[in-house]
Subunit: 458 residues, 2 copies
């Protein structure tokens, strides 16, 4: 080890290699709640070339490394494990090019997501990737975890907006797969190896993203519905009438909706009566007047058809914000609910309603005084489950119960947060043995010494 | 060999194993023009299980195989090479499920594209993948080659509509990565290994595709412009005003436009004057009246701004068909031009115009009496180049000249047709040595004996 650290100090400038107490606690853990751990050393390369040389040395010394971006991951992938050197990409930061004609942006991996969003906005463009951690997370980490967030229903996950990237392999090889072209079938599309593989197959160092024109108008409504079947039928109808403009379809079960209103007295339900499902809709258009007309007429049609029981269209930004505060109230609920089993899962569309009912029943039969709150991006198959008993010792058991039920319903044990270390033991609940064997084949081929984010994912 | 054929006959029913003259010439070559070759045997498995057993046997005997779908590929990937057994997936044919609520279709790999298109249409849905060979090509081949076609500007390549798949590896292992969920970050997304890798890493046997609601109205216009800069500026403006509804942006250089009108006397230019660029636009909407208004006002705005010199909006299907006949006239040109170097390439958006001018000049300086026709899906970076001298011996030289120029301009040597055998020697013009080395690492890991579509791509 001392040999390696000495070689690294020799290779890099001393400010780039930190050890012991010089490593701030920030680098001991990500946001997932996985147990913190001080890395053997913390390296902060400034260039792809430096990172390549670091990896060549670590490879030579069989030294495991953990890759860190904004440390906002929720699966424990960036929390150091015992004996690992941490490599932070935070200094590899900056936008290299924004091409307003091709609508692309090229940036280094350590660039915060919000910096990219703002740069796009300045040119009347739009990066269709957004999540709560936008100010802290880095675009490299967004690629490594194939981040989801809002607007997936329209624009897809992070993967779908990546045109090209550069990555460093476990042995230091630099893969330059930078590309600004939509159509390119010249050999294997290697970027997909690095997107969503959580840093286990290579380190993303540079990205090219497809931007979109900024929408000129946004329209929001809160609807009430009384059956899950109405929800799925409404999704189909609105996809037909609103087309690609439908950018938000956020379902809240009454349990969640009522709990938020109970805990946040500043919010009140805009509806007179109680309903079983509450749905937040967002529609974007390039024309304010035509957009408002189209949105109103689509909703009116579905009030007439009976799929929607009641609906309120936001008449101002303030109205829209109030609707979103109910949906986003989960953040404040976490402050008061005590220990929560918080799961981010996916299910086939028609299974989400039956799964939710079944889960609610089974958990209530098994645990005393359990609260079960449900909401999700249903248009993307994504359900969020929060279950809490007030007892810390129940959390792991509830997590496992949910994972097992997801397997029964042929769902995905993680929709957007990833596997990391926290769900590694459950992977076989969502994937077949031959799939997992193929993942291991890839890992072995690309990182035969297993030094890159080891024990994450597989 | 005889041992293997005997084992295959024993394994499969005899109608599934053809040899010698029983193999119709259809299976000797694909549509690419690569030299035909009779395979050692032709196998027509009916199930994934049979295909898996075939591959296990071939793997055991180190027997190379070529995978055949609809045989419509243009890169020679499905044309047998000497000593290969051909495996046709044509009997693994049929739709297993069409889920009109989730808007997904699940089908076997040997299902013709048009069958899927029609099934979607019957449910008022739309499969956003279309190409000239729709009646003959199979969906498995579309995935293997990551087919492009029209509407890529809106919906992306085939890859972007694949939710899940099943594939058989070189050793017969079945990878079941069937999935109907938009969000699924549960481990590596293995499907991307098989999409666009032209059958060299595995055989796609079953697919799940995301469908879209069928648009209710379609609007077409033919525009005239006088500079390439106006073309790219117009693309930006129309993306802003028409949003996701812009589904066609087909540019024709005057050389191409005039040649089509010269060769096809049934067509006449709807414009009084000559222009440098002709642009076919298509816009789709979910509302006929609003859609027509929006399209007309967007075009009027750009006539006013001066980006468009002249524009004609189709007033009927007949008008729209006439505009498309000019764009699709290339099919008939091929009948009369003699030997043509026909290249499908991609370039960064702003480079397409300068590249086209430079290519035209250089080819005309080098070859006597050369004709150079240019057109393409510019919104997807895709340029089609047709160059002809009437002399067969020039074709290969012209191909090579174009490939070398693409490399100079940092473009892609193939946009949508793929590498196959025909462009294999040129791959290094578009990809770096470390990328090609990584492709070989993947190939070696997944097909160590090199029996699956050998000598294609890499």
């Amino acid at each position: 080890m001392n040999n390696l650290i000495a070689s690294l100090v020799e290779l890099l400038d001393p400010s780039t290699v930190l050890t012991g107490a010089d490593i701030s606690e920030k680098y001991h853990a990500d946001w997932s709640g996985a147990d913190p751990c001080q890395p053997l050393a913390l390296l902060k390369p400034k260039t792809t070339q430096q990172l390549s040389e670091i990896m060549a040395l670590c490879h030579q010394h069989d030294q495991p490394v953990v890759i860190q971006g904004g440390l906002t991951g929720l699966a424990g992938g960036a929390t150091p494990q015992s004996g690992e050197i941490a490599i932070s990409l935070e200094r590899m930061n900056g936008i290299e090019e924004l091409d307003a004609t091709a609508m692309t942006v090229t940036a280094l991996a350590g660039t915060p997501l919000q910096v990219l969003q703002d740069a796009a906005e300045d040119r009347e463009l739009f990066l269709p990737l957004d999540l709560g951690a936008r100010g802290s997370c880095n675009i490299g980490g967004n690629l490594a975890t194939n981040a989801g967030g809002t607007e997936v229903i329209r624009y897809g996950m992070t993967r779908s907006m990546v045109l090209g990237l550069e990555a460093v392999l476990a042995d230091g090889t630099v893969i330059n797969a930078i590309n600004k072209m939509v159509k390119n079938n010249s050999g294997y599309d290697l970027k997909h190896l690095f997107i969503g593989s959580e840093g286990t197959l290579g380190i993303v160092t540079r990205v090219v993203l497809q931007l979109q024109p900024k929408s000129r108008s946004s329209h929001t409504a809160l609807c009430a519905l009384n059956s899950y079947e109405s929800v799925t039928k409404l999704l189909v109808e609105l996809k037909r009438s609103l087309g690609s403009g439908l950018t938000g379809f956020e379902l809240m079960w009454d349990s969640y909706y009522n709990k938020v209103l109970e805990v946040l007295p500043s919010l009140t339900s805009p509806f007179q009566e109680n309903h079983t499902y509450y749905l937040l809709l967002e529609y974007k258009d390039n024309n304010q007047t035509l957009g408002a007309e189209r949105f109103e007429s689509a909703l009116f049609e579905q009030l007439e058809s009976g799929l929607i029981d009641d609906a309120l269209i936001a008449q101002s930004h303030q109205d829209a914000d109030k609707f979103w505060q109910i949906r986003d109230g989960i953040g404040e609920l976490f402050q008061v609910l005590g220990p929560v089993s918080n799961q981010d899962v996916s299910l086939p569309l028609e299974q989400i309603g039956p799964f939710a009912d079944d889960l609610d029943q089974r958990l209530k039969a098994k645990y005393n005084n359990i609260g079960v709150l449900l909401f999700g991006h249903i248009g993307d198959n994504n359900l969020h489950v929060c279950a809490y008993t007030g007892r810390d010792e129940d959390k792991a058991r509830i997590n496992e119960d949910i994972m097992l039920m997801i397997s029964e319903y042929a769902g995905a044990i993680t929709a957007e947060h990833g596997i990391g270390v926290l769900k590694r033991d459950f992977l076989a609940l969502s994937r077949t043995p031959s799939e997992i064997a193929l993942m291991k084949t890839l890992k072995m081929a690309m990182d035969p010494k297993g030094i890159l984010n080891p024990k994450r994912v597989i």
